[in-house]
Symmetry: C2
Subunit: 189 residues, 2 copies
C-alpha cells in the first residue's frame, strides 16, 4: 500500500524518517526505540514528537499529504464522470505522485507486514482515505450508497495496483490501475 516517506531532505522530519527506516531495516521494527531513531538522526526526542505522534507514525507521515492530493484530484475530475470513474481517476493521479518512492516502497511493505501494530495503523489510514473519497464523491453529487460502493471498489483497485507497482516499479501506474479495474469488473461480473 502507500504513504511512503518524503524524499530524503536535510530537514529534521526527513532525517528522522531516514534514520527510522535504516534502523527498522537493520533491527526490525520492534527492535528500535524512538531514542535509537533520534540518536541516529542527531536530533532530540522533542523534535521527534514535534513531527510524529508515535513510533508508528514515522512510516505513515505522508498520509495526510497523500489524502489532500487525492481529494484535490477528485475535485478536479470532469463532473460528468460517474463515481467509480472519478474515484479511480483521482487515485491514478495521486498514485502517480508516488513515483519517486519506488525504492522505499518494497522494504516499507515488508516492514508493515512484519508487525501487527503497523498493519493496524495502515488499515486505519486506508479506511480514512476511503472515507475521504466517499465524502468527495458525495460532494460531487453521488448518492450515499453509490459513493460508498464506488469508494470501496476504487480503494480495492488502488491497493492491487499499488502492490503490482511495488513488484514492477517501471510499469505505468495508470496501466496497472486499468488492469486492476478490469479484474474487479470481471470478478463482480
Amino acid at each position: 500500500m502507500i504513504f511512503p516517506m518524503s524524499r530524503w531532505e536535510p530537514d529534521p522530519k526527513g532525517r528522522l524518517q531516514r534514520a527510522a527506516m535504516e534502523l527498522f531495516l537493520e533491527r526490525g521494527y520492534a527492535g528500535v526505540t524512538v531514542a535509537d531513531i533520534t540518536q541516529r538522526a542527531g536530533l532530540t526526542k522533542r523534535s521527534f514528537f514535534n513531527h510524529f505522534a508515535d513510533k508508528r507514525e514515522v512510516l505513515f507521515a505522508d498520509s495526510e499529504a497523500f489524502q489532500r492530493t487525492l481529494t484535490d484530484a477528485l475535485a478536479a475530475v470532469d463532473p460528468a464522470a460517474d463515481p467509480l470513474e472519478a474515484a479511480t481517476a483521482a487515485l491514478t493521479q495521486a498514485g502517480r505522485s508516488l513515483a519517486g518512492y519506488g525504492q522505499v516502497a518494497a522494504p516499507r511493505r515488508d516492514l508493515i507486514a512484519s508487525s501487527t501494530e503497523l498493519q493496524e495503523r495502515e488499515l486505519v489510514k486506508m479506511a480514512s482515505l476511503c472515507r475521504a473519497l466517499q465524502d468527495g464523491l458525495r460532494a460531487r453529487g453521488a448518492m450515499p450508497a453509490a459513493a460508498r460502493f464506488a469508494a470501496e471498489a476504487a480503494i480495492t483497485v488502488f491497493n492491487a495496483a499499488y502492490d503490482d507497482w511495488i513488484d514492477h516499479p517501471d510499469a505505468d501506474f495508470a496501466a496497472l490501475m486499468m488492469r486492476a479495474l478490469d479484474q474487479l469488473r470481471t470478478a463482480v461480473g
Copy 2:
C-alpha cells in the same frame, strides 16, 4: 460490522463479556479497566486473561468462531458457483448465524466508532476474514487475482448489509446481501 458477544450464559467468558459491555456502555470504553470488568463479573484478572488477550478482545471474542463458520460455509458452496457467488453465499450463511445478536450489535457498533483502538482491532479482524475468504476461494480453484477481488468485493457487500441489518434488525439478511451486491454491481458497472 461483526463479531458480537456470545449469548449471555453463566460461563466465565460470557459473564466477562456481559460485564464488559455493561461497563463500556455506562462509562465509555476508555473509562473501564480490566479490573473493573473482573470485579463486576465476580471473577479474577487471571480468568479474564485466560479468555481474552487484552481489553479490546472482549468485543471481538467470537471473531474466530465466525471465521470458522464462514470458511466451513464456503467449503460447502456448490463448486459450480463463481468466486463472488461463492463468497457472498458463504457470508450470507455466516451472517445469518448472527441473528440472535440484534440487541448487542447496535451499541457495539457505537462503542467501536468511539475508539480508534477498537476501530483498529475491527479492521484487523475484517482483514483476517478477507484473507480467509481469499484462501478459501483459492482452495476452490480460483486464480489469485479472481480470489482477491471476489473476496474484497464480498466483504464490501457484507459490511454494507451488516450495517443495514443493525438499523433494520427484522430484515432478512439474505435480502440485504442481495441488495448490497446489486448496489456494488451498479457502482462497478
